[in-house]
């Protein structure tokens, strides 16, 4: 399945999800006013030690940050150019520290634990028209349909590649969109037939 968790159990797995979320929020508030790069370097070193404590899997997690590197460099560079090296280093290190901390929570907390923590929040939102049962159904539908849609796209991609070496054209995407919208409409009808009303049925999620 598509869980994001770390397979081996670590001491952070045993900390309740709510505690981890509150801790993350507190730390983000505490780190915001820090303006000395030496303190932030210490914090980063501590976080790095936690990652290293998880062994090879923990260090492999750090690779996921790579897509963010260019932006971090730009942000740090712009700050360093306009407000001096200290400001650039502080901003970059604080962003990095928060990213790593939040990722620690994500990889040691299961999705169901997070959903459980959020259940009281959904209950509070009920007067505004949020139905916790529908939310759970919607999340489940997204999780189920991501692999389905990916498989359907891959089938089209393979069929194209088997015939030509040219790049995949937008019209292939258009055909795919039309196809998955029909699929979504059929799923919506199936949900209607099972007693979920229409407003629960518009969940063909597309990242565009």
């Amino acid at each position: 399945m598509m869980t994001d968790g770390l397979a081996p159990q670590t001491w952070l797995h045993r900390v309740p999800a709510g505690v981890k979320l509150v801790g993350l929020a507190l730390l983000s508030v505490l780190l915001l006013p820090v303006g000395d790069w030496r303190i932030l370097a210490g914090v980063l070193a501590m976080i790095a030690m936690v990652y290293a404590g998880f062994g090879r899997v923990g260090i492999a997690r750090l690779k996921l940050l790579r897509p963010l590197l260019p932006l971090l460099v730009v942000v740090g560079g712009v700050q360093a150019a306009s407000a001096g090296w200290n400001a650039g280093a502080v901003v970059t290190m604080r962003l990095l520290a928060m990213l790593l901390l939040a990722d620690l929570v994500s990889m040691t907390t299961t999705m169901s634990a997070l959903m459980e923590v959020l259940a009281p929040v959904f209950r509070l939102l009920r007067p505004f028209g949020v139905n916790p049962r529908k939310m759970a159904l919607a999340v489940a539908l997204v999780l189920r349909f991501v692999p389905v849609l990916m498989a359907r796209w891959r089938a089209r991609e393979e069929a194209w590649k088997a015939r030509t070496h040219r790049r995949i054209p937008p019209r292939l995407v258009a055909a795919f969109v039309a196809d998955i919208l029909q699929l979504a409409d059929r799923v919506a009808e199936a949900l209607d037939a099972r007693g979920f009303d229409r407003s629960a049925a518009d969940h063909h999620s597309s990242p565009l």
């Binding site: 598509m2 994001d4 306009s82 990722d103 959903m115």
Partner: protein
Amino acid sequence: MLAGIILGPRHGALAVLLFLFVVLLGVPLLSGGRGGLGVLFGPSVGFLLGWVPAAFMSGLVMARLRTLPAFPAALVAAITGGIVVEYAFGILGLMAMARMNLQQALVASAVFVPGDLLKALATAFVAEASHRSYPAAIVSRS
């Protein structure tokens, strides 16, 4: 861009919101396999949360331009939602998270505009073509 154009303002924004919610729960669906609470603390968080109002705006413009053919209507919708609104939120995010001033944030994000204009064109093409092959595709036009 596509979510708002196809589903309309309300459902488009809700679909994107649901997608973001699942991403925050830790499912690695963003480009590069990212996901989880970490994305909330990155410098690009504004661009991410901006998807919701951007989808809403795209849907709104698309519904307003019902008299225009699908392609130009979708192009205008994709640019106002996916670029104007999206960058407004993204730039606010950069200013807050990376402590940039308005000018710095504008410069830092201007690099991505040409690529996003191409994406808007592709979006308009996809919207128009899928509408042609499945007329119910664009909710505001079916």
